[in-house]
């Protein structure tokens, strides 16, 4: 096998390796050096990591398994220090490797403005995960942060830190933000939106010095303005990282000079990505880098390929700011503008035309038609015929009514859908016809929507065109029709933006409906009470009827009442009270449930507080048979009576039920405790099951016995009852904090991975913190709702407001 050495595991070289392994498997033995101590991840997604919307794990492109599967010799955390061209070897401080071909993909380095104080602690850049983590770990909440540079990167850093609760000021040298991508009008709208979100913007601001004793404390501008700053982020620009190439005496201008085949001045050395200069041009956006990867893969396979850069479009990945920019929009001779403004909604669209062809597009506030305009621009389509209505987008052409599907249907097969990866409509259509029927599958085989992800909706529309009604939109879509944010995103944003009420969530995350719907409101109510147990006030009106009324509604509008029987154990006095209540309120059916208790079915709503009061008087409380919360702990008689019992399973069940009752969870939770492996309590199909053995307690989780049937999986074993209780409590809290609303534990564990769950529970500090957070929540929720709703003031609210049939009689 020929030896290929790659310096730098970034997005460009990662894509190159993908092409190479796909087209020529086994041809190259690859050694991959990277200065960062990790492999290839999606750098476009650093801003959601900074804002807390995603985690690093979610943005990994190539994991250890991928590298292993392709036999890549990974040398991560080893920056290459020297290239020995004569002997064709590269050296790091720890090792070296020989090459037949070498690819330099060292990317770029942030540009540091050499003002005084630039090297103080507290001054950071924003390029990689280390920078991102540095900002997260600085704990910016409540502190002052200054971002120098109002370009794409700077604004993403600013928005990310603001989402984490910092008070952020952006200082920008030019007259308006993102001047390379936006004209002044769009720049103004962007600035206004950022200011509305609490980010201060100072344009025409030149940094004079960073002030501070021992660490950054403030930023001083040339005009004398001083902004306090606990953290200063420099994001003024990047320059190609060319030091290695310089030292090796390769031809270097601003970047490493490459020809159309991406070969440097040494025929054995190639380069791609942000470090190269091609025909005088540098590259910063991902689309041309992926084109380079495609070309270089062919070059390495000995096939002819020419790199020809095309114009690319920009989208800003800041939640709530919708902008699109492509081409050239400076004013000039022979250029004409078509402008549309709707100030009330903050919408601005501008097309720049020359000789009836679009040469520039700037959009703010509504960018839905961006890709269509971009397509017309790239293809240099003559737009003379449709000039009058051009600005209104594709849906308006030909007078058809506004239908997003029509717009997608009208696109030709070669129309580009995914700008990052250069995937056109025809490629997606073909993939779908070949059996890729989910978004994930299409992403896997075409790469469409695999980088910045903003085109996911478009890709799904193309899929829908092919599949028709057979297409069900994929899971990571919005949690309901009211929002495009997924459950996971909403939950993270509730945390990172410290949102503490349903109206606050709907306002800040841009809900599209007034007051949400029956699907999102209960979910939001749960996420908020789980996140802020002490501060959030439970919203009864956002609960499904059963939880609002603490009883299960039946098909005739009556309710069922189930008092709690701790561990399934009751007394003659309790049974007598239940029997009396059943007779007094003429309960039509009394039934024993599968959870070892008694159900009184057919109770009228206005009778509920009265029957509860009677049951309360006998010491009975709500069994929460209606809740997404702890239902029952089913037990067998255990060592107290059973000749096979090894431990006191009844006692442990009662103890667990008294600890966990009243807690709200993403979906219902049922436990079982069996006193020996004969398992009479059927513990191994519960959400949490304990099977007692001579040596102690075997705890297993994630069982199911409903529409799906599934045996539990082993979580932990312990000789101590106290530890068993602690482990179970920690597991329930982990489920409360991480599962999507309406996912039972078995579904959640399947998504999160049992290994991850185990790791959390096995780590003692993590386990104890989980138990502690559960106890804080239970200090609010471990109480009987029946008692609260059967008081003298509450009881009348369960009856009709008025009875007009009586008035008629009078």
């Amino acid at each position: 096998m020929k030896k290929l050495v790659v310096i730098g595991a970034g997005m460009a070289s990662g894509r190159l390796l993908e092409h190479l392994f796909e087209a020529a498997p086994g041809e190259w033995q690859v050694t991959l050096f990277n200065a960062e101590p990790r492999g290839n991840y999606n750098r476009l997604m650093l801003s959601p990591v900074l804002s807390g919307e995603k985690t690093y794990e979610q943005i990994v492109t190539h994991d250890a398994d991928w590298y292993a599967a392709h036999g890549v010799d990974c040398r991560f955390g080893e920056p290459v220090v020297r290239i020995d061209r004569a002997n064709r070897r590269v050296h790091s401080n720890a090792s070296s490797a020989a090459y037949d071909a070498l690819v330099i993909a060292t990317g770029s380095a942030p540009f540091i403005i050499p003002v005084s104080g630039y090297d103080l602690p507290g001054v950071v850049t924003y390029r990689d995960l280390e920078d991102t983590n540095a900002m997260i770990e600085a704990g910016v909440a409540g502190k002052d942060a200054v971002v120098i540079g109002g370009g794409l990167l700077g604004l993403e850093a600013a928005a990310g830190m603001a989402a984490r609760g910092a008070s952020v000021t952006v200082i920008h040298l030019m007259g308006h933000l993102m001047e390379r991508q936006l004209d002044p009008a769009a720049g103004y709208l962007l600035q206004r939106d950022l200011e509305r979100r609490g980010i201060r913007v100072h344009c025409k601001g030149a940094t004079k010095a960073i002030l501070g004793h021992g660490r950054a404390e403030a930023v001083l501008l040339e005009d004398g303005t001083v902004y306090p700053a606990d953290l200063v982020c420099m994001a003024v620009g990047i320059r190609p990282e060319v030091r290695l190439a310089n030292d090796a005496h390769l031809e270097v201008e601003r970047g490493i000079v490459v020809d159309d085949a991406l070969r440097t001045s040494d025929p054995h050395i190639f380069a791609l990505g942000e470090c190269v200069e091609h025909r005088g041009q540098l590259f910063g956006l991902v689309a041309p880098l992926y084109d380079q990867a495609k070309v270089l893969a062919r070059t390495l396979m000995g096939k002819e390929a020419l790199f020809q850069p095309v114009q690319t479009a920009t989208k800003l990945k800041v939640t709530g700011c919708d902008l699109f920019s492509a081409g050239d929009f400076a004013e000039g001779e022979g250029r004409e503008d078509i402008v549309f403004r709707d100030p009330g909604r903050g919408i601005y669209k501008r097309l720049v035309l020359r000789e009836n062809r679009i040469i520039g597009v700037v959009m703010y506030g509504d960018t839905a038609d961006g890709n269509w305009f971009y397509g017309l621009m790239k293809d240099a389509t003559d737009v003379g015929e449709m000039r009058d209505t051009l600005i209104f987008g594709p849906a308006f052409q030909g007078g058809s009514r506004l239908d997003p599907m029509a717009a997608v249907a009208a696109l030709p097969p070669e129309a580009e859908i995914c700008g990052c990866n250069g995937v056109c409509k025809g490629t997606i259509t073909e993939a779908v016809l070949n059996g890729a029927t989910s978004l994930d599958a299409v992403r896997a085989c075409t790469k469409a929507s695999g980088s910045c992800g903003t085109c996911s909706g478009l890709v799904e529309q193309v899929m829908k065109l092919v599949l028709g009604d057979g297409f069900a939109a994929s899971a990571p879509a919005g949690m309901c029709k009211c929002t495009d944010h997924s459950h996971e995103d909403v939950r993270r944003l509730i945390r990172s933006m410290e949102l503490k009420s349903i109206p606050a969530v709907m306002q800040e995350l841009g809900w599209k409906t007034v007051g949400g719907c029956h699907s999102c409101r209960p979910a939001l109510n749960y996420y908020l009470l789980a996140e802020w147990p002490l501060e959030y006030q439970d919203d009864r009106q956002s609960r499904f009827v059963n939880e609002r009324n603490h009883a299960n509604i039946q098909k005739d509008g009556t309710y069922s009442v189930v008092p709690r029987m701790w561990g399934g154990v009751t007394t003659p006095a309790e049974l007598r009270a239940i029997a009396d209540a059943a007779e007094k309120f003429a309960v039509p059916m009394v039934k024993v449930t599968g959870g070892q208790r008694i159900d009184l079915l057919g109770v009228r709503k206005e009778d509920l507080p009265h029957i509860w009061a009677d049951l309360n008087a006998a010491g009975l409380v709500s069994g929460h048979a209606y809740s997404k919360g702890l239902r029952t702990v089913k037990t067998c008689v255990g060592s107290e009576f059973c000749r096979f019992g090894t431990q006191d399973s009844t006692g442990l069940g009662i103890r667990l039920e008294k600890l966990l009752w009243g807690s709200w969870t993403p979906h219902k939770v049922k436990l079982g405790v069996s006193g020996c492996p004969r398992n009479c309590a059927e513990a191994t199909c519960k959400d949490v099951g304990v099977v007692c053995v001579d040596s102690g307690y075997q705890i297993s989780v994630a069982g199911a016995a409903g529409m799906e049937v599934k045996e539990t999986e082993h979580l932990a074993s312990t000789p101590s009852e106290d530890e068993a209780v602690e482990i179970i409590t920690a597991f329930i809290q982990l489920y409360r904090e991480n599962a999507r609303y309406l996912d039972r534990p078995y579904k959640w564990v399947a998504k999160a991975g049992l290994d991850w769950v185990k790791a959390q529970i096995e780590d003692l500090p993590t386990r104890h913190a989980l138990v502690q957070r559960f106890e804080i929540s239970q200090s609010v929720y471990r109480k009987d709702p029946w008692a609260e709703h059967s008081t003298a003031t509450e009881t009348p609210r369960w009856a009709p407001l008025a009875d007009l049939t009586l008035e008629a009689a009078e």
Binding site: T513, C517, H518, R540, Q541, N549, I553, D556, L801, L804
Partner: protein, 111 residues
Amino acid sequence: MTVFVDIGALDDIPRQGARVIRTAHGCVAVFRTMDDRVFALDDRCPHKGGPLSEGIVHGDRVTCPLHNWVFDMNSGQAQGADEGAVRTWPVRVEQGRILISAELVFRSNAA
């Protein structure tokens, strides 16, 4: 002209909630929205008879608790793909009191 009768105080109904009144025409649900608008609809979903008064109120819509049919409370029309309607009744709020059509006091000739 519609004659109205007093059925109670606006504050007797929680925001985004409902209370039931018994009438000569069966149970009627009286809803109060987040912004204190009031609607009166028959408390019976045309689908399977579910009590709309127990549904989640969102904007000027209510979702039936049994099978999630959604109704526009202005018109009583089912939304989306579901077809059907609930009868609405004239109702208004004056000085914090809820007034509803007096038709509901008397049995109609048809009934």
